[in-house]
């Protein structure tokens, strides 16, 4: 079943076409990898899907609903969570508070709840605490719960950022280079985590450079170069694709 469909998506920055008439689909419960050389338009594509930038042409459709041009916060509440290439966290706040904030989109208590301690506010606080504990366990961050997010080791920060994306129960998570700047041993832990995310029923779309990792992990690979989709398929197909080999100088065969 198709969860997300991208239809003729185009984004221009002045004369540069960063994303050029891109079509692809992400099916529910899969891991889709988006690969391509630097400047191929991968992050721009994520920005277009998550609403932080508006496409010039084309459509983004999530589960049958056209979400093109929605604001990022609305897209997030609709069920698309994302992480950023340069790990974004609420750095001075403890790890668990980061997760509380991530779950805010599923709680509704506002000013009156805060001032009057309404039953809903109390219930939602409990519910939040439960969900936060769950995610701390899921991402293996329980030991860091009380530490400021910015003081965590690089790899733990990456996992926390993924946790912040997951805590609001998204349908789809977009991970922008989740293993960027992380050592080899820790890369394996993050791959395991991504596998676990898929097994928990959340669809994953991941931007990556590490080809070995991708060919093992992804169900489907979409390859970009200069803003254009040049190939798409399962890992085997893509690795044998002539255009891909050319773009990567045979890296994935090595």
């Amino acid at each position: 079943m198709t969860l997300l469909r991208v239809d003729g998506l185009t984004k221009r920055f002045g004369g540069l076409v960063a994303v050029n008439k891109v079509d692809f689909e992400i099916s529910s419960g899969s891991i889709t990898a988006i690969i391509g050389p630097n400047g191929a338009g991968k992050t721009t594509l994520f920005n277009l899907i998550s609403g932080s930038s508006t496409p010039d042409e084309g459509k983004v459709i999530l589960g049958g609903e056209d979400i093109t041009g929605w604001s990022p916060n609305k897209v997030a509440r609709e069920g698309i969570a994302r992480t950023f290439q340069t790990t974004a966290l609420f750095e001075e706040l403890p790890a668990w508070v980061n997760l509380v904030i991530g779950y805010r989109m599923r709680t509704r208590s506002g000013l009156w709840g805060a001032l009057l301690h309404t039953p809903r506010a109390v219930r939602e606080k409990k519910e939040t605490a439960q969900r936060v504990t769950e995610i701390l366990g899921f991402t293996g961050l329980a030991e860091y719960a009380d530490q400021p997010a910015g003081s965590l080791p690089q790899e733990a920060q990456k996992r926390l950022a993924i946790g912040v994306a997951l805590v609001g129960r998204p349908k789809l998570v977009l991970l922008d280079e989740p293993t960027g700047g992380v050592g080899l041993a820790e890369t394996d832990e993050i791959i395991e985590l991504i596998d676990k995310i898929r097994d928990s029923g959340v669809t994953v779309c991941v931007i990556e450079h590490k080809m070995k990792m991708i060919t093992n992990l992804a169900d489907r690979i979409v390859v970009f170069n200069f803003g254009v989709k040049i190939a798409e398929g399962n890992p085997q197909e893509v690795c044998q694709d002539h255009a891909v080999i050319e773009a990567y100088l045979g890296e994935c065969l090595a």
Binding site: P72, N73, A81, A88, F90, I101, R104, S109, L111, L115
Partner: protein, 323 residues
């Protein structure tokens, strides 16, 4: 255990605050000090209001002087010209200030960072000029008298009233920042882009925070009008925006006790050195520079750092002996 210790400490502070006017009433110069302390607490309410939008939501409003004046004038005009009851005039002044704050926030919250500060400063300047020139509104040089009920004629009664409001404001702000709503505000301060990406409508929450903040500064304005019994257009001056900001920064931004310590403490000290005239602003400026460079979280933040450091030193030594 620690929780009870804290509660005890706060109760002690409140006890001192309650006892203080009784002691000051014994001397003739003490009566004037009651007035100064009352004004200090009113500025503390103003600093707490700015704390919500600047300290917890990360948006530097430089229009709080204007909203203070608007609250004060709304209150004064309701009492003197409309003849509204005192206890009704206070919430009405707050609500009207909050409403205007929301109107100002609607366009200006679309801007970010320093632009918001500039837009609000411009707004304050406009309000100041309007009050300066619309004499039918501000009463010109003569200003606006604020008739208060006779039972508020005594200084110490007004002191207690302001103290009660100050405690109420502190508790309100505490409730807000500890709630889920508060986590949304703090998220915006910490990383606005990420807050938006995790589903927080940053515009909506910034607007809410600003509106509540204006409500509170409206209260400070009304109480200022009550305490002084007299208003003129200078109450909307943008200087006050900076004064409130400085009380907050020196006391400790994003803490609950900081604005109170900063406003009451500095207002009191400034009054003590009134004899040196405008030079006191020079001292003020130097203190501000030192605090911002060495204690980014103000006096209260600095004191906490020192306390933690002292605890570590002590714990370290004791641990060494035991081992």
């Amino acid at each position: 255990m620690k929780k009870f210790g804290n509660a005890g400490f706060y109760l002690l502070l409140v006890g001192i605050a309650i006892a203080l006017p009784q002691l000051l009433n014994l001397t003739s110069s003490g009566k004037y000090q009651i007035h100064i302390l009352t004004l200090g607490m009113i500025w503390a309410i103003a600093a707490l209001s700015l704390n919500l939008i600047l300290g917890y939501t990360g948006q530097a409003s430089l229009a709080h002087g204007a909203f203070l004046g608007i609250g004060a004038y709304t209150f004064g005009i309701l009492l003197a010209r409309v003849g509204v009851n005192f206890w009704l005039a206070i919430p009405l002044a707050c609500l009207f200030t909050a409403f205007l704050g929301m109107l100002v926030g609607l366009p200006s919250m679309r801007t970010r960072g320093p632009y918001f500060a500039i837009v609000t400063l411009c707004f304050n300047f406009i309000v100041f000029k309007v009050f300066e020139n619309w004499k039918w509104l501000s009463g010109g040089i003569q200003g606006q008298t604020v008739p208060i009920p006779s039972y508020l004629g005594q200084r110490s009664v007004r002191y207690y009233l302001v103290l009660a409001f100050l405690i109420l404001v502190i508790l309100t702000e505490r409730q807000i920042v500890k709630s889920l709503l508060g986590s949304s505000f703090i998220a915006i301060r910490s990383n606005e882009r990420l807050a938006e990406a995790v589903g927080i409508s940053t515009y909506r929450y910034k607007l809410l925070s600003f509106t509540v903040s204006c409500f509170l500064v409206g209260l400070a304005g009304a109480l200022l009008a009550m305490e002084n019994g007299q208003l003129d257009y200078t109450v909307t001056n943008y200087f006050y925006s900076f004064y409130i900001l400085i009380y907050l920064l020196i006391g400790g931004v994003a803490t609950l006790s900081g604005p109170v310590v900063g406003a009451v403490g500095i207002f009191f000290l400034l009054d003590r050195i009134k004899s040196i005239g405008e030079f006191r602003n020079l001292i003020f400026g130097l203190v501000l520079i030192v605090v911002i460079i060495y204690f980014p979280r103000g006096i209260v933040g600095g004191a906490r750092q020192f306390w933690d450091w002292a605890k570590r030193q002590y714990a370290g030594r004791r641990g060494g002996v035991l081992e």
